[in-house]
């Protein structure tokens, strides 16, 4: 998605440890008009695939998941981190290591919100090592749901998580793939 690549070039900041900060439009401040564009692109990619529900994980995934869901007219289910009073004991859970926080979180979805009837599109904001997507895929599998595919805004291609999933047969659509990220600049993977 050319407009996303331009936004990353214009507003993204690269920090030590392969951290790409895009908080001006995706991770803390949300550019509403641009979020709609990203949602529309995901809806275009998966519009005719029979998706009946979008699965994501709190917190940054929620925004882009909703942007797509508003166009695809499907509900969103988001996995929660940790344990809250309003989450039942009957959950599907997975362990996920956060790249940006450096901690392992248990993510959970109440069993009643994903079933074997579901045809899921899994959405997240970032794809680095692929841990979050793998956690969500594991939850979908535990629920017996079908996964139509996955979509993320930004894939850090050089970390390999996306290609590993593709090699395993998972459909991974990334609106932008960063293949190189150094002090001298950011290089994107060519996509059709």
């Amino acid at each position: 998605m050319r407009t996303l690549e331009e936004k990353i070039l214009n507003e993204g900041q690269v920090f030590e440890g392969n951290v790409l900060k895009v908080s001006s439009f995706l991770n803390q401040q949300l550019d509403t008009a641009f979020l709609k564009e990203m949602g529309a692109e995901i809806a275009r990619l998966y519009g005719d695939c029979g998706v009946n529900k979008i699965l994501t994980v709190e917190a940054s995934g929620i925004a882009i998941a909703i942007a797509a869901a508003f166009i695809m007219n499907v509900p969103v289910v988001f996995a929660k981190k940790g344990k809250a009073k309003n989450l039942s004991d009957k959950t599907y859970s997975a362990e996920v290591k956060s790249f940006t926080k450096g901690v392992v979180n248990t993510i959970s979805v109440d069993r009643e919100y994903i079933t074997s009837e579901d045809k899921l599109l899994i959405i997240d904001d970032f794809l680095a090592d692929g841990n979050a997507l793998r956690g969500l895929l594991s939850i979908a599998k535990d629920a017996g749901a079908k996964v139509i595919g996955t979509a993320v805004a930004i894939e850090k291609g050089f970390q390999g998580g996306g290609d590993a999933l593709r090699n395993e047969g998972v459909r991974v659509e990334s609106l932008a793939i960063v293949d190189e990220m150094t002090d001298s600049g950011i290089k994107f993977r060519q996509q059709n």
Copy 2:
């Protein structure tokens, strides 16, 4: 908002410790069509007030904030809990006790995303004791931003947080106010 009251009556579950679970449409599964309705109602309430930005807090606040922002055509900024690699050291922060998780979180917003030029609408999903809204109000104050008002989906009126804020002159709009919540039923406050 009558439709929200009906949804709470139909789908809400009351648990020990004054917990109202509405995870089927607001807190874990997001009913996309209904989210749009709630966003439209917030946009109607604050549409002519000069709001230029919506401030919320991760995670559950993000969905309803975006629903309103999509109609009001303003960006959303969400405060983060804890500390991530992609959050700068230059933040406005506040301590917030979570009612449903029973823990105290530091919530933070990067200073560059809220300024003294901003006219904020603060949005959250729930209002109980008012701790989250107070944290966000404190962050807005530290940034020198003007707060036009606040909006939440569900206020638990019997916990008093909303009325305390109203008494202090804060505009608080709640799409539904639960004034009583017992095994025998839920009673809503009459609103115009």
